[in-house]
Subunit: 425 residues, 3 copies
Amino acid sequence: MAKQALSAELAALLATRRDGYGMPRDFYHNDALYPAEVAQIWNRGWLFAGFAVEIPKPGDYLTLTVDSTPVLVMRDDHHEVRAFHNVCRHRGTVLCRKDSGHARAVVCPYHAWTYSRQGDLIACHGMQEDVDKSALGLKPLHAEVCTGLIYISLAETPPAFAALRERFAAAARPQGFERARIAKVVDYDVESNWKLVWENNRECFHCTPCHPQYVKANFDIYEEEFASAAIKQKMAAAVARTQSKWAAQGIEITLQHGGLATFPDPERNLWFAADRTVMVEGFASESMNGERVSTLMGDYADSDVGVLRMRSMPNFWVHGSCDHAVAARLLPAGPRTTKVRGYWLVHEDAVEGRDYDLERMLPFWALTNEQDWEICKWQQKGVDSIGYEPGPLSTRKEYNVDAFIRWYLQQMRGDGVAAPQLRIA
Amino acid sequence: MAKQALSAELAALLATRRDGYGMPRDFYHNDALYPAEVAQIWNRGWLFAGFAVEIPKPGDYLTLTVDSTPVLVMRDDHHEVRAFHNVCRHRGTVLCRKDSGHARAVVCPYHAWTYSRQGDLIACHGMQEDVDKSALGLKPLHAEVCTGLIYISLAETPPAFAALRERFAAAARPQGFERARIAKVVDYDVESNWKLVWENNRECFHCTPCHPQYVKANFDIYEEEFASAAIKQKMAAAVARTQSKWAAQGIEITLQHGGLATFPDPERNLWFAADRTVMVEGFASESMNGERVSTLMGDYADSDVGVLRMRSMPNFWVHGSCDHAVAARLLPAGPRTTKVRGYWLVHEDAVEGRDYDLERMLPFWALTNEQDWEICKWQQKGVDSIGYEPGPLSTRKEYNVDAFIRWYLQQMRGDGVAAPQLRIA
Amino acid sequence: MAKQALSAELAALLATRRDGYGMPRDFYHNDALYPAEVAQIWNRGWLFAGFAVEIPKPGDYLTLTVDSTPVLVMRDDHHEVRAFHNVCRHRGTVLCRKDSGHARAVVCPYHAWTYSRQGDLIACHGMQEDVDKSALGLKPLHAEVCTGLIYISLAETPPAFAALRERFAAAARPQGFERARIAKVVDYDVESNWKLVWENNRECFHCTPCHPQYVKANFDIYEEEFASAAIKQKMAAAVARTQSKWAAQGIEITLQHGGLATFPDPERNLWFAADRTVMVEGFASESMNGERVSTLMGDYADSDVGVLRMRSMPNFWVHGSCDHAVAARLLPAGPRTTKVRGYWLVHEDAVEGRDYDLERMLPFWALTNEQDWEICKWQQKGVDSIGYEPGPLSTRKEYNVDAFIRWYLQQMRGDGVAAPQLRIA
């Protein structure tokens, strides 16, 4: 039941955005846009699914739902991470229903069709003899593991992954994601369209009013051009200290001038980025008082490593301190709901109560998350107004919001490829 | 605000189903289909509304809601069961608001328009003198009572009822529905489209994985062609035992070969069916341990009566043991919600605590129901996936799922009658 | 993503109403109509926003949401009441998030853009130097204060306000709304379309079945033509008593014949009205037993003042007794949800516990409100039925329901102005 006319309407809508300004109301208010976003962005790109350490052994699995599409990520008998559509090839029932678990084989709870961990249909007792089992394996999805991060794509032909792999592997090497321990997971339902979550994430203009704990630790709010001499001097000192210590081991401060690294970069087609920044003097970790909150993580041998920051469109970011890392996975669940999972990671041998306390580790980012989701909720209510008119973005502080919008428009236009027709829900 | 173009789109959608396979995603995922289903199926066919014993006396009534249409079923002054649209002819307010009750007359709670139990408008004080009361009686609906079952139809000209009456009356005679006692009613909100509830109901392929208690009592999972000699022998013995005892009284095992009776039968236009099956040795009743859970029901004089099974499209089924019967009434309440009422019936003179205990009687079917609704919920989530693709149906075990789909398509095509135009919700 | 074809469909729908009857099902059941109602009525007319006494000092504010549009009403530095779109001119975030409060300046919680109480943008640190602050003040809305009532309009060019001002000022003078104390506020979510709330409000045909406490106090259920001689005599006595006492002070019984004053009056384009009625002998106030429930309000020096009644389309009514007044503010929050705020007002110096008890003051109207919202809920369920067919309205008792419908159709037709195109939600 496609609506033939809407494709032209979508193109017309995309053309309404004025350079240097936010996006008009219909981008957030018109629910009919959402299916097109799912089709153009979420069903096409690379999505962070979870950490490889969540599924260490063959048969371990995790699940996620992208809009209304259930996905199964499983370690197979050969220790490879695979992803499948998490629905039975028989009647379509969801196969694995828990967030994570372990399975000898994937047995459909409905009629017991049984799939190997490689996704092959190995039993379907009760079916006619001439059923072609070889044609009824689980539908595979593209999956990649890079420095401990699992990415999947629902696309038939996803974008190239090699560049992300190269960049992330280099940047994240000392953080040790691939052997970390997940100390805590928190799930949030954010009451806003997923784009507002990204627009919020892509600037630290709001950090002073909204995140008092965050601005104590980081230089994000200081842009090079406008920073005071005192701030510049502090940053330079921190950079010098870190660089001299770590250059040989590849720990490099890549963003030395405050503010946020430029990301995404639609003109260069960059949907991922990784940087390392220094922290404010006295901060060894992104914690409330700046003290370390766990034992050193990965290959770090000293606290003076700044903050590793990686992110990829449309659904992942992580901040790594010397002792722990905090990641976020976004999943859209309707035009006005974004499901966010927050992860807190520590060294693989860290033991709660001995090496870290959640009471000390969680607040810095738990607060930052909750402050941001509250912003997003009121942002959604605001852009739903007939009185909302996009305002000018700060060229000093919101260059990345502008970049996000340009990236979004590029994706929705489909790089010259005809956009799929909108469908009535 | 009809959408002119969707009729052709509906026809196109109906044509997408491949023979022998399930229905494609849009049949379950596209909410715009639901109003067409209500129009073509729910507002046209015969719907089980309840049991005549629920409204034994003149003025007794029960209510139900078909999608968004409230229905009133009332016993009139002449002891006839009548059905009406349960809305006032004045401003449209719902008249009777409880599930069931008793009324001297139907008095609208809003402005006290008063209708007789025959539906005639008998008072509307405050209206102008020239109001034609004779034109403002409650809108009647077709209603039929057959062997204690009340059926209603919202259609102007419903399908013929005579064949159902004949078949059900013969099959259900000894069960005594028309004088039973309702021991328990349980209401369920199933989180799936109503079609998934039927597809689940129309096969016992899932019984071994999902209903351990059910398969102990019944032979449904054994098809004649594939059953072992031992199973065939057990069934034959049970058939012989029952037949020899009851032939003179019309208690006949009509399904002697295991599996499920073929139903529905769109080619023969059969939307109802009634059969009697044998139970496994040691089972006198569909109960957890096979023991009787109440005194004998209806005309039964002995436990050896197997299971009476009756069902009618689109909303009724019942299983009758020697001592109790369990029925289900389905009502759609949106594209992803099906309201199911479960009924447990016993002999009219059975007394709780003396003749039956709910703790012993309920579990067999309460479990079966809850197991099925859980299946349906995950089935809905699965077929909402972009990765769902209809798989092959088992010709051995899912012939009735195929039959249901063929029946559904036949109804939606309207037997050559032009389908009503889809409307935007 | 406008739907080009629906404008003609809207016109066709509006033409389906039969004179003297209720509106057909689609007016209440088809959710696609709601955005057109918001555009044609709620975003165009004058809306009661609250009482001026809620924001006595500069910087005091109150907020409300009209469908999805947040509104800020603030007393400015010059003691004027102003209204603005309650969204930041930067990214559109909702500015003031509480129901009411006080602010030195309006500071956006997101990026600290700061607006004066006059709505001027006075600071936006972090923005580029060449930002034109003068173009980025809060978007003003029309606001008027009349006899203590604050009205706002989202329209660019709202209807003339002068006639309402003149009528309300004269009628409400002795009630003292402009200096009253708000003793209680209660918020209700009514589960029906807003039109059903008005249809319920515009007749007292339902008062005898639904509001036993209300009909004891008021003559609304007696129309002149049909009232008994005894009733007429009682009313005349009450009128005479009040008139003789108050004529010099402008307290005039304007509705002397029972029933309800005619309102709205689409033919004369009247969207507001004010009247004073007498009460039943023994009733000094709209209270459960007729006794006064607070000290005298406003300029009243005696209980014998009847009931002042004022209302304006589409969202306000108030009943004023000698000692307290009860108002209602309606706001639509979707096609099937109406948010109603109830206000109880007393003399500005009245002190709870000494001069009034809420336990005595609230029940009369709290009951009336709750009884009406229950009616509206069942009315919505009824008109959603395929069996609902508009019935004849009582020419004796529902002339104002008819008037409301005529007014509604007039507004939706836009007085000859082309209706805005319907949009998909």
